[in-house]
Point group: C2
């Protein structure tokens, strides 16, 4: 069997989405927990540009960037498809995944890490952007259809992390009244047994994130 | 024949890369020039989130984001492959394309649009990042091997636009002595007849970009 290693952080949605994809495909791997305050020489060697997790190492060959890794996993292993088969649907899924990471994530994270007017502005921007997803999920169980696919896997960020971050910092990122379809998807998703098995334990994650925000606060 | 429309801007590298890919595949299309100061209702309808070009509309179905469109084109039409066949090489190409757009482009553009210390810092960052590409292209004619592929198409940004922007603002983004391999690729690329046919005319592009920088200067 090919040697498979995943350099990640247990509390990171970007790292967890790779684990979810590998488990969906039934691929065995060794998880190597990185300390991002003291990065390992191997992580720096494997991802010299971004110096970030996740990095998947397949028989010694590293792949960085979670969306790139997800494409690689889907193309390399049989099993349930992560990306839709139809090219147009694939394009739509890629667009949404990119949207979550590049358009939604920055203001969402800023809303969590900033204060006052800056927080208010970032919060409004992040919430407004989710209107697009509310419309996209309307009438569907998962973004992938009847089973989870790329956007659902990448959407762990909103479905789980946003809820917990919101609890900590006092922001309701997905108001039920404003986004009923998206709210329904979040419930469906977080109650799906396969998803649940691949999410970090809530109390542990809250403690981890709270400690991180305390560090941010004290360094301001 | 399916109706194919490309909403773009003649002077944009992001728009030109889609034209290059369509021509490589021999796909006929209608090019619709957008005025980004007065966007058309169709562009806003087709790309409501980003309101940006390029947007490819295939039989009425829109696809936005240039990297997503390139994947769609390669998956939909026969002809010369844009993406490598091997999944690991595909992952590397996707990583590099993402790197050019998301990591290199922001400081490069900032170096062009800012002044003083801010420009100096952005310039150093952008130039430093290109060291990675100099290493990647070593010993190869094109990033795609003997013929142009994804990274070459996306690389129009550095190969052509960076040179012209550099002339206008007085920045040498690719110093020959520092990056001999990458410099060699730029020459090879810009002299390739297929590439040349798909680049805007130099004088016209210089005039367009100069006018844009004058607007930026006057609005400061």
């Amino acid at each position: 069997m090919a040697e498979m290693k995943l350099f990640g952080v247990w509390a990171s949605p970007f790292s967890r989405r790779i684990e979810m994809a590998l488990k969906l495909k039934g691929v065995e791997y060794e998880f190597i927990e990185e300390d991002m305050k003291n990065k390992s020489p191997l992580l720096l060697e494997y991802n010299p540009i971004h110096k970030k997790i996740p990095v998947l190492v397949h028989s010694g060959k590293p792949i960085a960037e979670s969306l790139v890794i997800l494409e690689y996993i889907d193309e390399t292993w049989e099993g349930p498809a992560i990306f839709p088969k139809d090219p147009y649907e694939r394009a739509q899924a890629r667009f949404l995944a990119k949207f979550l990471d590049e358009t939604f994530f920055p203001p969402m994270w800023k809303a969590c890490c900033s204060r006052g007017e800056e927080r208010q502005k970032a919060k409004e921007e992040a919430i407004e952007l989710l209107g697009f997803l509310d419309n996209e999920i309307k009438g569907k169980k998962f973004f992938g259809g009847d089973s989870i696919g790329l956007v659902d896997i990448v959407g762990n960020l909103v479905a789980y992390w946003c809820g917990i971050l919101g609890e900590i910092v006092g922001i309701e990122f997905v108001p039920k009244d404003k986004y009923p379809n998206f709210f329904k998807w979040i419930n469906e998703y977080n109650n799906c047994s396969f998803v649940k098995e691949n999410l970090p334990q809530k109390d542990k994650l809250i403690a981890f994130l709270k400690a991180r925000f305390e560090v941010l606060d004290s360094s301001k």
